[in-house]
């Protein structure tokens, strides 16, 4: 079956508990090559936990995870880096895999932070650091990208550009993406499959299906539902860091 060949990671009724409390329970989802699966849900609904289950960071889980690739790029939601380590952006880029200079430069240019290459990680702003994290994750040309709120702290125009980039990467590399995002506009315009979490899967399906779902409406409100169904705007260009416009 072709869908099985494309399968990258599959969760079967997966759950994780900490100190006798379920963080998330009974999640089934799968990510395939070239597809973007987005997790949405309120704070504390288990989105990051689900991502960590899929990545194999949490090992003592309920249910099961089948992972079919080792080429993984991960942008965590929270990352604390110990500043006792003198670490430049360039050192950070080759953290988990050795890359040549061209590959590093290309990834940093794509996320608009090539000029920060020799800066110390500790000296970056939140948004700059987020762009470096994304560059690092895509630079190794992964088969599976797990992006946990990848554009937090990025300025408004940057946010749109980075989401466009994520979509482009998914198409070009044919990699599967598990995305966690609060930006419903983006979710609905670029996502193939939406999983709405609230400690469990409250609903899932295509963006349009989810938008019509009553549980979703209860969770996010009527307005959010309208955003989804109304969203049809498409960009034919991207904005670079210097404010130029590039045609897709």
């Amino acid at each position: 079956m072709s869908s099985n060949q494309n399968l990258l990671v599959k969760l079967n009724k997966a759950g994780f508990s900490l100190n006798n409390k379920w963080l998330v329970k009974g999640v089934s989802l799968q990510v395939e090559k070239g597809k973007i699966v987005t997790l949405i849900g309120p704070n504390g609904s288990g989105k990051s936990t689900t991502a960590k289950i899929a990545l194999g960071i949490y090992k003592k889980i309920d249910g099961s995870v089948e992972k079919y690739t080792n080429k993984v790029g991960y942008v965590p939601q929270k990352i604390s880096i110990d500043w006792t380590l003198p670490l430049r952006v360039n050192d950070f880029m080759v953290l988990t895999e050795n890359l040549n200079k061209e590959t590093i430069d290309e990834a940093l240019s794509l996320t608009g932070v090539i000029h920060l290459k020799d800066k110390n990680l500790g000296d970056l702003s939140g948004g700059e650091f987020q762009r470096v994290l994304l560059a690092r994750a895509i630079s190794k040309k992964p088969e599976l990208l797990v992006l946990d709120e990848p554009v937090q702290g990025v300025d408004f125009t940057g946010e749109i550009a980075l989401y466009e980039l994520i979509k482009k990467i998914s198409d070009e590399l044919n990699c599967g993406i598990l995305l966690i995002s609060h930006d419903l506009h983006t979710v609905m315009s670029a996502t193939d499959h939406v999983v709405c979490l609230n400690g469990h899967v409250c609903c899932s399906g295509s963006p349009m299906d989810v938008a019509k779902n009553n549980e979703y409406k209860a969770l996010f409100g009527e307005q959010a539902s309208q955003i989804l169904s109304r969203y049809e705007h498409r960009h034919d260009h991207i904005h670079t860091d210097q404010g130029e416009i590039k045609k897709n």
Binding site: K52, L55, G56, I57, N70, V72, G73, Y74, P76, I79, S80, I81, D82, T84, L85, P86, L87, R88, D91, F92, L95, T96, E97, N120, K140, V146
Partner: protein, 267 residues
Amino acid sequence: MLDDFFIRALIAGIGVAIVTGPLGCFVIWRRLSYFGDTLSHSALLGVTLAYSMEFNIAFSVFIISSLIALTLIRLQKRTNLPGDALLGLLAHSSLAVGLVVIGFLSFIRFDIMGLLFGDILAVTVDDLLIIWIGGALILLVLKLIWKPLFASTVNYELAEAEGLNPDRAKAIFTILMAAIIAISIKMVGLLLITGMLIIPAAMARNISSSPQKMMMYSIIGGLLSVILGLFSSLEFNTASGPSIIAASLFLFILSLLKIKQSIKLKN
């Protein structure tokens, strides 16, 4: 040339400094200085066992320190005591047991000061072999586990998510710590080994901008400390360990001047 005790001490010290440089950086990055202390305190027990069973000191220390390290890891999983309490518990109890065992071995003459603070007169040609061969092995293994160890030092979850097996790297690094303590105990003495690991690396942190540079400066700092320390030990007839550590402290203070300069630049 190797007949001269001072030349032997110098060669031994240089070997030790080349290995403690990179390892010390990891000790600082991973916040393991008290872990190093615990292992080196337990080394006394290893030494006494070596004497009582006429076994090689370095091997015996390596085995005891590894056992203590593994015990610590198990205790951390099984008890609710905080990490520092466990470290203190193991450090002082193994030191105490070591001293009690020494009491029983009254038929052997012990140079306690030499054990605690190092003794350059005691370095034999065999010790040189152990230091250089053991040191080369330690560096080789460190190179092999570099990627997962360094990545998980920066961020555990990234390393785990991207398939680098950080737990295995951590376990291997623990064994390397036991090994470096085993090979440097004669030179620096068990009370000061952690100083040899930390102080040159701390000095290097002050003046370096990348992990690789920090390792290089840490090795250079260690080498300078050994050379300076051993010469002054010879000159002033002081114990080798404290002299080397005092020399490294001197270098650390010099490196603070560089920090002061760069802070001025920023303002």
